[in-house]
């Protein structure tokens, strides 16, 4: 019988604190935890060639290492990385534009599109970070409830070795935890 707890995976704050002391393992954990997120943002810039996308990804991590002492709010690290990656991509788009002959210069995305891209990537970043901070049991349950095609509650109960009747209440509790983490992140965002 698996119990659902809110026990956190190694939290971002302690990983950042250890990385600041040059703990390579902690740094690699941070990379593992957030690479998908950075890559998701970078891949959103379809106009960049693969080399530029790889450069933007790597530069985002180099900048984090460089700025690590200035990370004031590790709980928002995901949003920081998303913003940094997006800025690098935007800068590389500008560079690519000037290297092309003038007649090929593409119209820049409108500021509305850029803003929307920024909002989406930062909201996604916060959601992904909050999800990653849930206990493993919550993550496992929510993932199983979101499979495509969907699994039945009986199948989910079997796979997690929990009672079918506990899925509904547990799902609600996990989502409440997730919402609390999201609210906390956006409150810190505003302050």
């Amino acid at each position: 019988m698996t119990t659902i707890t809110s026990m956190d995976v190694p939290d971002t704050s302690s990983l950042v604190a250890r990385a600041l002391k040059n703990d390579q393992d902690a740094w690699e954990d941070l990379v593992d935890q957030f690479t998908r997120l950075v890559w998701h943002v970078v891949r959103g810039f379809h106009q960049l060639d693969p080399q530029s996308q790889a450069d933007a990804h790597q530069t985002t991590w180099l900048k984090l290492a460089e700025q690590l002492t200035n990370v004031r709010d590790p709980e928002r690290l995901g949003a920081w990385l998303a913003t940094t990656a997006r800025r690098e991509c935007y800068r590389l788009l500008k560079l690519a534009d000037r290297e092309r002959p003038e007649h090929e210069i593409e119209l820049e995305p409108s500021s509305v599109e850029l803003d929307q891209h920024m909002l989406d990537s930062e909201r996604d970043a916060q959601l992904w970070q909050a999800f990653g901070e849930l206990g493993e049991s919550c993550q496992a349950l929510l993932r199983l409830l979101l499979t495509d095609p969907p699994l039945s509650y009986d199948e989910v109960a079997d796979m997690l070795d929990i009672k079918r009747g506990s899925i509904g209440p547990t799902r609600r509790r996990c989502l409440d935890l997730l919402k609390a983490k999201l609210n906390e992140a956006s409150r810190q965002d505003r302050s």
Binding site: A19, N22, Q24, W27, E28, V31, D32, T35, R36, L37, W39, H40, R43, S52, Q53, A54, D55, A56, H57, Q58, T59, W61, L62, K63, L64, A65, E66, L68, E88, Y90, R91, L92, K94, L95, D97, R98, E99, E102, I105, D124, L127, W128, F131, L142, R143, L145, L146, D148, R171, R172, L175, L178, K179
Partner: protein, 150 residues
């Protein structure tokens, strides 16, 4: 936000993040080591690319101008121009220094010396993530520029 809306967002984000074609993490994992350099960080103060972007004006003919970057620690400034003939730098106040180039991939290497007027040139220069480390010949300071994609 309802639970169902949250679940929909979560499904979309999980699907996007679970994309298996991730970049090789080795470069990102080595990033911490690249920053163990005993040199003060010089922050980017000016980038001709971003100046254009911010002004919202596309300067015709700007694409043939060298890209100009200014990094500073407050005490020491490095101005860099990146053009077809490589990278040209100016240290201010002018003084002699050794210059290392960091790419994030290869071992950093000493590539040039700044003369007594603080001028240096790097001809063999690969595009990509770049940081320049300058060390005063008299040993009074070492600085490194913030990372930028050149």
């Amino acid at each position: 936000m309802t639970d169902e809306e949250l679940m929909d967002d979560l499904r979309r984000v999980i699907q996007a993040m679970d994309n298996p074609s991730l970049p090789d993490p080795a470069a990102a994992k080595s990033a911490l080591a690249w920053n163990h350099i005993d040199a003060e960080l010089a922050l980017l103060e000016y980038d001709s690319e971003l100046a254009e972007a911010d002004s919202g004006v596309l300067l015709r003919g700007a694409e043939t101008m060298p890209r100009q970057l200014t990094f500073t620690t407050g005490d020491v400034t490095i101005e860099i121009e990146i053009g077809p003939s490589g990278l040209i730098g100016q240290i201010l106040p002018p003084q002699a220094a050794t210059i290392e180039l960091h790419s994030g991939n290869d071992e950093p290497r000493r590539v040039a010396d700044a003369d007594e007027f603080g001028v240096f040139q790097i001809q063999e220069f690969k595009p990509g993530p770049t940081a320049v480390v300058a060390r005063a010949v008299d040993g009074s300071w070492s600085i490194r520029t913030a990372w930028t994609v050149a």
